[in-house]
């Protein structure tokens, strides 16, 4: 497992550019680039308000990880792609590299074949951007003394509000 790259503005914008091209060509609804632990690295497309991409990412990472274990049981190192079909929407997931997955949600406007076809190029471009980002040095963020104050409560229970 590699250390995840820090997403600089340049890297994040390049990833968005790839997703934009991919969605334009494939006519899929939206796509997420997720880290295999479940965190989102990039997202693009028409995400309906009823869909929480954070939850989709966590479940997709879990689902992909589970099928990887399944692959091991039948002598494969992993299934490089995973497809789930519903009545109106489908999900196609493809492995980008050891740490990252491309998750694509699409409807009746397109087909699995088209999504799969265009995802191959997108995956290569994403892998290359992430590899480049990994080689860049980390840009530090100065969070200041706020977080070092032990008295600071991150979550406030009393009235259900965050601070």
């Amino acid at each position: 497992m590699h250390a995840m790259p820090i997403l600089t503005i340049e890297a994040a914008e390049s990833l968005l550019g790839v997703l934009e091209d991919f969605l334009d060509s494939s006519e899929a609804s939206f796509a997420l680039i997720i880290e295999r632990g479940g965190a989102i690295l990039g997202q693009h497309g028409e995400i309906p308000p009823s869909i929480d991409p954070t939850t989709v990412a966590a479940l997709a990472a879990g689902s992909f990880a589970a099928t990887k274990e399944l692959a091991h049981r039948i002598g494969e190192s992993e299934f490089s792609a995973l497809h789930q079909q519903g009545k109106e929407r489908q999900i196609f997931m493809s492995a980008v590299n050891e740490d990252t997955i491309l998750v694509t949600v699409f409807g009746a406007r397109t087909t699995l074949g088209l999504v799969r076809f265009y995802s191959v190029r997108a995956v290569k471009r994403i892998a290359s951007i992430l590899e480049h980002a990994r080689q860049q040095s980390q840009i530090p963020i100065d969070l200041g003394d706020t977080v070092l104050d032990n008295a600071c409560e991150v979550f406030d229970e009393r009235d259900g509000r965050r601070r």
Partner: protein, 229 residues
């Protein structure tokens, strides 16, 4: 590891609630979900069996403080506590930033607490990490049940490493100790993140200084060569 996104100005952390079966990991998340305002939480997702036992994981995304323009997001997960689901626990632990180990305070659960803690250590090692590297806190839950083990005994069996970690007594069903635990692990993660960034900033500064010194030295050599010429 924490994920930083400079475009969305977000820092994401993954916290995993670990512990033996039926110790109250899911109850912690359920209570947190009931208390945090809608705007700052996502849906609580539970992948459970028909008997409400965690099969894969529970998941709760939370938005927390905004520091220096960066939104901090915490994603809370639980693992299934039952011994047979170890492969699943390993999957959920992937990329973990911080851990809450929930222990069951009942006397007859001590062996299960110790086994689960050892299992956590082994699973971290399997992914090339360790308890020394990943911040964690302990929660001694179910203090309301009759005859719980004393806190100093729980500390003796679970909090006996070189560096003692924060521990909290809790009754997750009523919420007692739940937010104290969550705040403690969140603070530890933010502090670790701040320390690491401070170190990275110092390194970068040193590199820049070394670069400018080298440039000065090169200019000196060039000037000397020009004088000789």
């Amino acid at each position: 590891m924490s994920i930083i996104n400079y475009v969305n100005k977000e820092i994401q952390f993954k916290i995993v609630y670990y512990g033996p079966a039926l110790c109250g990991k899911t109850t912690n998340l359920t209570y947190i979900h009931s208390q945090v305002a809608e705007a700052h939480k996502g849906e609580l997702v539970s992948l459970a069996t028909a008997a409400d036992r965690t099969l894969f994981f529970d998941f709760l995304p939370l938005n927390a403080v905004v520091v220096k323009g960066f939104k901090t997001k915490f994603q809370l997960y639980t693992v299934p506590g039952q011994v047979i689901y170890n492969a699943t626990r390993q999957l959920v632990l992937r990329s973990v930033d911080g851990i809450v180990f929930v222990a069951d305070s009942q006397w007859d659960k001590m062996e299960e607490n110790i086994e689960s803690f050892k299992n956590l250590e082994e699973n971290l090692q399997r992914q090339g990490s360790s308890m020394e590297q990943v911040p964690y806190v302990l929660q001694y839950n179910k203090r309301d049940l009759p005859n719980p083990a004393p806190v100093h005994y729980l500390d003796f069996i679970l909090n006996n490493r070189k560096v003692r970690v924060p521990s909290f007594v809790a009754v997750a069903t009523t919420g007692q100790g739940v937010f104290a635990t969550l705040n403690a692990i969140s603070r530890l993660l933010l502090q670790k993140f701040a320390r690491e960034n401070e170190a990275a900033a110092a390194k970068q500064q040193a590199r820049t200084a070394a670069g400018s010194q080298a440039t000065t030295a090169l200019s000196g050599i060039a000037a000397a060569a020009a004088r000789r010429g």
